[in-house]
Assembly symmetry: C3
């Protein structure tokens, strides 16, 4: 049997932070996704791989979904979790810097997952952390573990990444999930349609971050673009993002996906959403096979088991 | 040896929700209580029965007691717990519906225990939940796991249920614990005295829910009724429940149990309370053998181990 | 081999509360510290010593550091943790007394660690608790587990306690950490300099608590005293502690330690701090070998593993 020299293997990720989609190439992403595949079975059985290990689950912004996903992922690996879920009960409220918080917390944990309202929080934390630091959402900058779950879900829903035309819809300016997702997609053979109101267009630095590797088209009309899409990644357009409420009123209905609108798309178009949704996906889509947004959640467990397990060197 | 065909066995509860005392017959209640008996020993030893399993402990209303009771019950079964203890830090605060929350959370957990301020929360959640959903208090509607612990404690304190005269005292209108308890008692050979001020009388639909199976008497005078009781189930009369504060002032002292008043009752009358108490049971009762309200707490662990263990199919 | 009769052994601590530094003699402190030494290795490996056991981690005041330290210590011992991190979500918010809270919580846990804003909370709780109660900070009265970690860190940093000249700096009136530390130091052959503004001098009852066993000098000038010190224990001077803000302005810069000031001290002077710091230690000290305040944190795990493991009788 011929031995292929692997450029990427598990030890490549051991002890490393997980901060930004800017840091990974295709081989690395695929390796993590393949590892997440192996987590599907492990998630059902449970394991002792992280026995006695401790995750510090630090959420300095309200979150249910991402926090619980990290915590359950650690439990399925056999580890323990200590949680900060409320910014007001933390040392940060006493005036401690993020750097001091990290230097302290790393004494309590083998790995840290943190959400923080500041855009530069993940980069600052990673600079001082001596245990693996996993970015669980850093202001409106990036949310890279969400992207790993998104990619893993896309592979399940569509059988692979290459050849897809992917539409990202809604608030592409402030949405950290779409920032990280677009950056990751640069490594795949995909076309991307960025569908947003003028006021909420994708941040230029994220588009630059794709290094011209993929075809990106920026449009404002979801209805017109929909028929071309293999996958729709919805996010919410929030009223409070518009300086002039009249501008919001003009666009608000254009970025709502319902069954009638969806019927204009491809029969097997996949609908995803980072959740929570409010009304941007009508509930009449929920029973359709196109609706992947709740199944998508489960892939968060697989992806985060892979990311944490690799960082801890147990996979 | 003759084999008796069992109508109820453990598999009867596997994968099922636990929502309302309206749903259970005597055989089912007794089976759960007998299972709770077996948990007394298991609670001391601990176990690996729920190894790698995860309870989502979701408390969208303030709670210490019930939440910690569920969590410790899961730990004694060998499982893990991921917690939401603060409504403000949750996705619900971002405008997510309860149904979407459940559809998400069930990806993170093998079983959900939830407290929610809405009366219909448990029924709505149970409709969509694909993992066992345990009602940990649903508005002022029901609190059925509290009832299982109450029944289990009564069996310990009095040696059984049948033949007892049970007084429920205080706010019977808003108290979800007394609603669930009264519904459960319909299956036993007991007499019930409902002792409450006019403004806080038991809700008619709960009395109807007992299907005329037990003798129920509604009275307002605790002092007069006390001598007949084998068991007093106290709850608090809250000032804010009275539209006219003058009405509260008239009744407030009538629903306070102290040593002097208790001495008018049977020598072995049992005093229970779902806790927390404020002043409705005077502390001079605490040292008496009649005081069961703190010992009662322990039965919450046994009852919830049984309920969750059966729902998860590990008992 | 001659057997020495031990005055103190592990069983001495089994089932006991841990409330105040007033309660321990040198043999006892040293035994706990020696036990903490053994935890250094155990912390890395993890253990099953507390399998199925539950710590109730009850923080009725904001805290990250102490809470997470207790929780991780329990995880490293193999146990579980149920947490109250937010006073507002607790039964206390419903008007329950501390005594009732304890009588309830002890049904859910094998051991309780609690922080409470009241000075007398630990003593009151210990009176009713039937499981070991560990004082995790009781108003401005005492914080004895912090002292065990401080002592353990001092032994590591200086190789032992005896012969040291120790300066405590800052708010010595309200700081519970310095109260407990000073009380503990009475058993060692040390000199103590209490360096504080007039308004924030050490509480007389704490000085009395040292029973005249050690040489204590109260001064106001950090700069002048610094050269004599082997160890500086910094705490923060908070503006809100001064009735007259002008008084604060007068002293605020006198109690800030920076590299320039530190250079006036002994070459190997050790700088400690209970954290979080705000600006009372300048960050230019962080990279110096004198800076022990972040390494100090780790000793909290060792000390709390020892304290809880001894109380639970597993060590």
């Amino acid at each position: 049997m011929r031995q292929v020299q692997l450029l990427v293997n598990a030890s490549h990720f051991k002890g490393k932070h997980f901060i930004s989609m800017r840091d990974y190439n295709r081989e690395e992403l695929d390796f993590i996704l393949d590892t997440a595949d192996q987590m599907v079975e492990l998630e059902k059985q449970g394991s002792d791989l992280c026995k006695s290990k401790v995750l510090a689950s630090m959420f300095f912004e309200p979150s249910t979904r991402t926090r619980l996903s990290f915590e359950t992922a650690m439990f399925r690996l056999g580890g323990n979790v200590t949680t900060v879920a409320d910014p007001k009960t933390s040392s940060a409220a006493k005036g401690e810097t993020l750097e001091d918080t990290i230097k302290t917390i790393q004494n309590y944990a083998d790995i840290i997952a943190m959400r923080h309202p500041d855009n530069d929080a993940a980069l600052r934390a990673a600079k001082v952390a001596m245990v693996p630091y996993i970015n669980g959402g850093s202001g409106s900058w990036e949310h890279p573990t969400q992207t790993m779950l998104d990619l893993h879900c896309i592979r399940y829903a569509k059988g692979g990444m290459d050849g897809l035309t992917i539409g990202m819809v809604g608030d592409l300016k402030h949405g950290r999930t779409v920032h990280s997702l677009l950056l990751a997609l640069r490594h795949y053979d995909v076309k991307v349609k960025l569908i947003a109101p003028e006021q909420l267009k994708m941040k230029p630095d994220v588009i630059e971050g794709t290094e011209g590797k993929i075809e990106i088209e920026e449009v404002t009309d979801l209805k017109k673009t929909l028929p071309e899409l293999d996958l729709i990644y919805m996010t919410r357009v929030q009223k409070e993002r518009f300086p002039d409420p009249a501008d919001y009123d003009k666009v608000k209905n254009s970025y709502i996906l319902d069954k009638a609108l969806l019927s204009k798309g491809k029969r097997d178009v996949v609908v995803m959403h980072p959740l929570p949704r409010v009304n941007e996906i009508a509930t009449d889509i929920d029973p359709l096979p196109n609706a992947w947004y709740f199944r998508q959640v489960k892939h968060g467990i697989y992806a985060r088991m892979a990311i944490m397990g690799l960082a801890l060197g147990v996979l």
